[in-house]
């Protein structure tokens, strides 16, 4: 039980760190997108720890899979013009 709570807390802290990285991004949109995907991936692990495997699968497939690749897809399109 204690181990579970400790893991959840550690995960939550990592999620917050990844979210801050996604907002700041260090000038690179690619890093921001990857960090946002990491937030979803860790959130799906968190759902698994909370005994909700169905929600975890949805989060992993849509949140961290499809959305991340969709952002990269659109980023490649937008990059066709001048740099921002």
């Amino acid at each position: 039980m204690i181990l579970l709570i400790a893991m959840s807390l550690l995960l939550s802290l990592t999620i917050v760190a990844a979210a801050i990285l996604a907002i700041r991004g260090g000038q690179s949109l690619a890093i921001s997108i990857l960090a946002a995907g990491l937030v979803s991936l860790l959130a799906s692990v968190q759902f698994l720890l909370l005994a909700a495997p169905d929600v975890a699968m949805t989060e992993a497939a849509i949140g961290s899979g499809l959305t991340t690749f969709l952002f990269f897809f659109v980023l490649g399109r937008v990059r066709g013009g001048e740099h921002d």
Binding site: P53, D54, I62, F69, L70, G81
Partner: protein
Amino acid sequence: MIRRLFVTLLLLGLAGVFAGLVVSYSPDETLNLSARYYAEHTAQDIGAANIVTAIIVTFRGLDTLGEVTVLFLTAAIVGLVLSHGRREGGGSGRELPPAGELLGTGTRLLVPLILLLGAHVFVNGHLTPGGGFQGGAILASAILLLLLTDPLRRISHRLITAIESTAGLVFVGIGVLGIVLAGGFLDNRILPIGNLGELFSAGAIPIIYSFIGLKVGAEFSSMLAHLSETEDL
């Protein structure tokens, strides 16, 4: 200055609200009334080993129909908005660099496996975690991988439309059959319930969830294909 003060106050307020939630949290010792009903009645009434699936497809089947409709509307609107910049024929856009060896080989290896996993997830939706929505998203991610490898690849919109409309019609048709043959709309007992835990059990749930999976996969794929075919705006 005043803006920073405002933001700090807002953050402190949010922190207070969440701290209150965390401090006052106490885990339930027993299931509450509706949860206990679902936990006790699912196995004998519905025959599905996964209670979440029994709730999504049967107890709350009408909500799922609404969700699928919302997803369909989203896909239709994306198609409508993006149809103006459609690239004619293909290959007329700017030159794209060829996909790397790693991506190409990885795609050839992974796409059949991903499709298989998606089908497994929605066919076994009544036994294991997952179901139509998750399996459909997994199917669509295989299509996305194909489009990433070769952005000029064309995926037949006629096929996607045919799959999506057939799946939607079958879903509603099974629901109406439930009114005629069993207790009500989307009742799963139009087929024998069978033994708990077998693939062909839980009445119509595997069929309904398979068609939901196909429908969701087709909707996501049509959105991705529209995005891929759009000329740079």
